[in-house]
Amino acid sequence: MTGTGLYAALTAASHCAAGCSQKDLVWQSGKLRLYRYRPIARPAGRAPLLIVYALVNRPYMMDLQEDRSLIRGLLAAGLDVYLIDWGYPDGADRFTTLADYIEDYLAGCVQWILQTHRLDALNLLGVCQGGVFSLCYAALHPRRVRNLITMVTPVDFKTPADLLSKWVSKIDVAAWVGDGNISGDALNQLFLSLMPFRLTQQKYVDLFAGVPDRARIENFMRVEQWIFDSPDQAGAAFREFVLWFYQENRLMQDRLEIAGRQVELRDLPLPVLNLIGKRDHLVPPDASAALRRLVGNADYTALEFDLGHIGMYISARAQRDVPAAIAGWLATR
């Protein structure tokens, strides 16, 4: 591919939209949207699966394109998939707290699904920070969750490899946030500076030096869109998340309260599947694996994949292994 061809291919791919599976908006509250994906296979007869994504970045990473879509893999396994899109917080959302996100928004989605299906409990899949929310919700409402799946979810925020935790440990987060929101661009800078040489340079070299294939460039551009399409973070929730989890590690110390209620993960009375990326630079494997110590005697399964944080969503191996692992685990419960 010549310079001209490369430029043209990148320009054309700039307009590629992420997201491939058909879905319907079924419920909304404020900026939150709850989507239900249309089935593509015979129903497996399991309880609906609600995917809770992180507030950082957008949830379409779960359904990037046809050959890079965990959601598509789950649909192909016959699961009934719902997804929460938290939206883009603005200045009016600056006082939205973690309690609002978990006990109002997430709880509202669960309530809607359970009422619609006339069920007592559903399956919950929490991704990254969404996994933390899911753990909190499951601990507060164990009867409403049949099975809990956490994916690249930090639990112990004080592991030696956790660079983010070290960086924020001495930051005055209340002063940092003030009464405002935290800019998504600022967070992006932070994430890029975890591995600046690879994330700001080498990956582009890989793009240009690799096979000049249109599909590959389009895939790259969709991921690029996802990486830099970063919503601002509601100030109050961000402050609580950094303080309670990163700085005080409350989850590990059994002293986390959401909306005045203690989050008790010990002896969580429901099956837990924990999916861990062994090469995850954002959520080190030890930070996720600590969940075993917290949930005590629960029906706990941990599966490790030789993948990084983003690879867990979109790598070819993830497409093959992760949905199958989830569907297989759910099938036995």
Partner: protein
Amino acid sequence: MPDDLWRQWQAFAALWAPAAPGTQASSASDGSFGFAPFIDAAERFKAAAQTFLDGAASGSASAAAAAAQNLSDFLRDEFADARLPWNAGFGPGVGARAQRSSISDWPALGPMREHQQRWQRMTEAGRRIDDAQRRLQRLWSDALRQAAADFAARLQPPLSSAADAEALRKLYDTWIDCAEDAYARTAHSEAFCNAQAELVNAGSQWRQELQAGIEHWAKLLDLPTRSEINTLAQRLKSIEEQLRAAVPAARAAAPRAKPRVARRKSSPARHKGVRRKAKR
């Protein structure tokens, strides 16, 4: 090197660093499009790599070592001025400008006392920002020096003397590995974490003082301030929460309506009737 590969190599250089001040983007007509401002970086890399490969292939151990040192020094210099997160939020010289201001030493007396103290706090925060940026930049430089030393140690002859795409790519990847390892060691260090926290904390204080000053003048002009809007937003949120809590309680406390009445009120036929009436 085949033209296509060289073009690709030039293209990736486009993403190495932001454009130098005064550099002009080329037009589409020269074939390099928006990548042109950065092609110099790739040219410099190619020249440095070629010099290294020539030296490494000379057969002399001392020449090979010198060539490796030169290439690693070149890479260290190339990355020394990279735009880093700690420089993104504040332009250089926030503190330097503040240090020049003599007001920072004056005792705060008289009617302007509060303004002067705010200005002094801002000045102090600016000085801390500047200091933290310098500490971070020094640590970054140390990491690059270590990366360059590791890189030089990893370059083992015999190497091909031809600067083909594969050789360039191998050199580049080795450099990235060394740089990332050295940076990780620095980034995990106490000194780096302290400097970064100090930068954020000082930046927060600087912004807070600036906001307070702007709000003061806004109030004099009877303009709405962020603080007023925040107060209203918090009141509204509190009312919403009270409402959410009150509605279920009110529903539970309310006497149950007679089923027949309730059915009629919600029956589609009744709604149709209403619509028909409205039409008439």
